[in-house]
């Protein structure tokens, strides 16, 4: 009984809820997220340890989706309605509909088990990054491709594109230097918003590939009923998301000088 009372006192459970909350918030602003129930380590330290892995994965996924989506979207726009466009349309529909916890195991099955090309899981160099980044980025790639296609379709009928062509510029220059630059502006907003699903998707992707990031830590914390750790992880992911959205807004006014914050 004394043991219970001692623990209650230690966790602050014998104080009013509001007081507990105030203590939590005060600690939060001092960078103190509490102490993990399980290993008695400061939560902030565990998060700092895992954070870079998640960012690495998210950035890799973002790069992959851009590398796929921008060319594919441009091709879809200039070949609208033709075979290439339709084929890419089907790919993007599949990409949107294939959840990462189905895609991940299927990719492992194909590339790691059948072909033996890539490692199954873990984080140890660039090869280990490929499958998780593909898994996480696929949905975003498909969505971005649709966006790029749509906004390129609008741009290539603008007057300035006709002017550029009339000047005798090469088609490639017209498309990539003139139309694409404007076409990418709305895409940036969507990318910023979609970073959220990327972060949430990281929770699942990291679980599939045993990637030692924040997402996997969240799930481990939840399964261990380690509430301070789970709370800290979720808070960190949400703050990251908000920060990215803020950056997107700033970026937006840099890319498009007509927009003032």
């Amino acid at each position: 009984m004394t043991e219970v009372a001692r623990l209650r006192h230690e966790l602050g459970l014998d104080r009013p809820v509001l007081e507990q909350y105030q203590a939590y918030i005060t600690n939060l602003f001092h960078g103190n997220l509490g102490v993990s129930f399980r290993d008695q380590q400061p939560v902030a330290a565990s998060i700092r340890l895992r954070y870079p892995a998640t960012i690495e994965l998210a950035v890799a996924a973002l790069i992959f989706s851009l590398l796929f989506a921008v060319p594919a979207g441009v091709i879809g726009a200039i070949r609208k309605g033709r075979a290439a466009d339709r084929g890419l349309g089907v790919v993007s529909l599949l990409g949107v509909s294939l959840p990462n916890f189905a895609l991940g195991p299927l990719l492992i099955l194909l590339f790691s088990i059948e072909l033996g090309l890539l490692p199954v899981s873990g984080r140890d160099g660039i090869l280990h990054l490929i499958l998780p980044a593909l898994t996480l980025g696929m949905g975003l790639a498909a969505m971005t491709m649709r966006m790029v296609r749509g906004s390129m379709l609008e741009e290539i009928h603008q007057d300035y594109v006709r002017t550029a062509r009339a000047k005798g510029l090469r088609e490639r220059t017209v498309l990539f230097k003139h139309a694409l630059r404007n076409g990418l502006i709305p895409v940036i907003t969507v990318l910023g918003l979609q970073m959220g699903s990327l972060l949430a998707g990281a929770v699942i992707t990291e679980t599939i590939f045993s990637w030692p990031g924040l997402g996997r830590l969240t799930i481990q914390a939840i399964n261990a009923r380690d509430y301070p750790l789970a709370q800290g992880c979720i808070l960190t992911i949400s703050l990251t998301y908000i920060l990215i959205n803020l950056l997107t807004d700033v970026m937006y006014s840099v890319v498009d000088p007509r927009i003032r914050l």
Binding site: P99, P105, L106, V203, I208, I222, I234, S238
Partner: protein, 275 residues
């Protein structure tokens, strides 16, 4: 409805697959060849065969039966979540847009924006983490994150509609505010809400599967596609069929509802119809 499918084979396919899935979910108890929880240990991890067309899982349970019963779980969660979050979202968001003023500020800035600050399914994960797994709690968590989308949509639509002449006319005829809201304004925003509901169905099915995949959704031994995928993950080397069949089921479901949503949108949007 007819013109929705006449020139759109993809939409027709989506509609057929979705109907097939709903039918399978409804009739599952009569269709399943085996007890979805019945263990047949000698044939554990066995691949597809005549007796078990989709093979057996790690406890020797029939995967086809579990997929069919899992469809029931998916559809029940999806349907309930869409219905509840649709009704709650449209009523609250619509009211905020209709009344305006302080109520609108409170709903949009404080409630909706704070809920939107959590990326995607993370808030549902957090809720379930503290509530514990289970069908009702999964549905509750998904409604909590789901209604916001409908609320934003409804608010925007109502703001647009309430300035139109027919609303003014109704008011000039002496209709009460409540009457105008429920009988005139709400019925006219139903179309975009339907599109959203179709996407919402796909999203909810995916979200339930995600939660169950993480072990936070439907509690075992109830069959859920997400949980089945998670079971299969440990047997990628020796029993790949455990991953392949639930993946196909999930993709078909999400794909069909997404296609339907696309078709709905094109059908309802006169601009895109002509192109």
């Amino acid at each position: 409805m007819k013109e929705l499918f006449r020139n759109n084979k993809l939409a027709l396919a989506g509609f057929l697959i979705a109907s097939f899935l709903v039918a399978a979910a409804l009739l599952a108890p009569w269709l399943i060849p085996y007890d979805p929880a019945g263990q047949e240990l000698p044939s554990r991890l066995a691949g597809p065969s005549w007796h078990h067309p989709f093979g057996n899982d790690e406890l020797g349970r029939d995967i086809l039966s579990r997929l069919l019963m899992g469809a029931r779980v998916s559809m029940r969660v999806g349907g309930t979540v869409v219905l509840l979050s649709g009704v709650v979202g449209v009523l609250i968001g619509g009211l905020a847009g209709y009344v305006g003023g302080k109520l609108d500020t409170f709903v949009t800035v404080i409630v909706i924006d704070s809920l939107m600050a959590f990326p995607g399914i993370l808030l549902a994960i957090a809720l379930v983490a503290f509530l514990g797994p289970g069908l009702d709690r999964t549905i509750f968590a998904l409604v909590v994150i789901g209604w916001v989308g409908y609320a934003r949509l409804a608010r925007g639509q109502v703001l647009k509609i309430k300035t139109l002449e027919f609303v003014e006319a109704a008011r000039a005829l002496g209709a009460t505010s409540a009457r105008v809201y429920f009988l005139h304004v709400l019925p006219s925003i139903i179309q975009p809400v339907l599109v959203q509901a179709s996407i919402g169905m796909a999203t909810a099915v995916l979200a339930e599967a995600s939660l169950s995949f993480l072990g936070l959704g439907i509690a075992p031994p109830a069959p859920s596609w997400g949980a089945m995928l998670n079971d299969g993950r440990n047997h990628l080397f020796d029993a790949p069929h455990m991953v392949v069949f639930p993946s196909i089921a999930l993709v078909l479901t999400v794909l069909s509802f997404n296609i339907l949503a696309d078709a709905f949108r094109d059908w309802l949007d006169p601009k895109s119809l002509k192109s």
